[in-house]
Symmetry: C3
Subunit: 243 residues, 3 copies
Amino acid sequence: MFIYLFTDYGSSDLYVGQIKSVLHQHAPDAQVIDLLHEVPAYNIKAGAHLLAALAHQLPPDSVTVAVVDPGVGGVRAPVMMRADGRWFVGPDNGLMSVVAARAGNAQIFPITWTPKKLSASFHGRDLFAPVAGRIAGGGLCAEQLQKKPRLDVEFGADDLPEVIYIDHYGNGFTGLRANGVSRDALIVVDNRRIGHARVFSEVPAGEVFWYENSLGLVEIAANSASAAGKLGLQTGQPLSLAA
Amino acid sequence: MFIYLFTDYGSSDLYVGQIKSVLHQHAPDAQVIDLLHEVPAYNIKAGAHLLAALAHQLPPDSVTVAVVDPGVGGVRAPVMMRADGRWFVGPDNGLMSVVAARAGNAQIFPITWTPKKLSASFHGRDLFAPVAGRIAGGGLCAEQLQKKPRLDVEFGADDLPEVIYIDHYGNGFTGLRANGVSRDALIVVDNRRIGHARVFSEVPAGEVFWYENSLGLVEIAANSASAAGKLGLQTGQPLSLAA
Amino acid sequence: MFIYLFTDYGSSDLYVGQIKSVLHQHAPDAQVIDLLHEVPAYNIKAGAHLLAALAHQLPPDSVTVAVVDPGVGGVRAPVMMRADGRWFVGPDNGLMSVVAARAGNAQIFPITWTPKKLSASFHGRDLFAPVAGRIAGGGLCAEQLQKKPRLDVEFGADDLPEVIYIDHYGNGFTGLRANGVSRDALIVVDNRRIGHARVFSEVPAGEVFWYENSLGLVEIAANSASAAGKLGLQTGQPLSLAA
């Protein structure tokens, strides 16, 4: 049984270990895998599109704890979702909504359970991890859960024409799915027009290009260099297509 | 069986993997969890207060390898501690001493074993991990161990009125336990006076406040912004309370 | 069964989790350990010397996925190697070649299998992880594999007189094995001459020295301070010995 973590909690901070401690106590046999803890902080929209790009790879019946939660402790609701056979647990603030909108089948379940002790700021540890652990351990199943018709916050299925993630090489992921973009198209960001290449080694060292990355997204990259450094890319930066 | 790691070895460097390799060879069935590897480097005192705040969550009989060890290879002694049913293994330099001072019951055991090969600088891998692995694997038990009356270095049970950790959001953890601080109190840092809020979403975006964080500590934070950036917070910075 | 990961994929990015997901699906009982994901980006030579220094510690029959792969998607070949009883899987671009050159016994096997879906840029996930998982799961054994006489790219067994890694403390690892260097020798970097000490606590706080680190390499360090900061060390910087 696989439990994936997808958060903006930071891969170096002390949050992830506390979540894993709870998960392993609830589901000792589960394999817990860090998918990403560096979703741009507080950026629910970027997170929603990254999660949608990653979700295809997750095995059936896996459980993903998905938390980017600037509204923690406020009015946003906690929620479980089963989309195309995969579970997601986290805040109902839009983060799961691109997965939901693109899924063939998505069922939404409110989380009605509350833990004995709930901190004001760390529902990942106190609420979402115990729920995910119970799903993974077989203690919750879709048939017995109360449903709600839809998520409270929905971003829809459309692509997001923005930089949504910059990796440590300096590659800029976009919210555009590459299978909808012609290889002849140029990506325009900050008035720079960027052409396509299949892969890094096809362009000279240092040259900027776009390609279909391993998540199926349009990515702005440079061969053995930082595209983000060369272009001043930033998360949230808008982009457009040109012929 | 759970083994936790709490160090300043860095979450991105090549130290943690080497420790895990040793642990898994000694205790194949143990679950090894990274609690924190970004204790401020060399800062034993900050580490001691973070460890004390985290220790409450650790399950009974768990083993924590706790290493912030600027004196490695020098005269400081290696030590095992069992405090309120939880084990800790590491250098006797104060790092475990706040846990010890606040525990209902703490037993201290010198580590007399030495490995065949002991590097001068990486006792986490060569000494503490094998010992922790043997405790976790059931090969060492408190009843059969030689005791010593107390730790060599003791910081005591008192709170530490300093910034002890800054997370990647820019929140500043303090060494003050929140249950001893009135919600009407102001935290004063660098002549800035900071009022209380229950949670991030209770203040406007960008506004600085303090709250009881998920470890029970007073934390200086800002809603969807970096308090450390706004206030110039640094680890070790002193603070005080005002009415 | 142990699978180690040694890459420049970044410990905080979304690459490692995807690899682990594939590995655990192929080899559910394997223990997967992150050795290092911060090999200096694209720096195959530095990676080759770090890997050679780490390899001694790896248990027999372990499998290491070793990927620093700026030529991914180009002409470089994928390869498996069994060296002194340990497996390595990755690109044949020199990365494994220092391990090979120093091994008592190294066998090289071309990877002829190709996955149904192979991304242009992430062979770690699509090609090397499934192969490593099959080795770890017992599905591939050396006796049945086609061999090739040698690696395509070979750096040889010699030491590399350069800074090959800078850790988060600011210590500078070099590609020099310490057992070949007299304790009376000085390390010369950028015209600074640096003397030997056994360990950090033997020099005053802030003082720069070199010592044999826990991997057996000459390391330039400073007591409770950043040698890299003090000296302006950079990965790839050349160094020499003086009497």
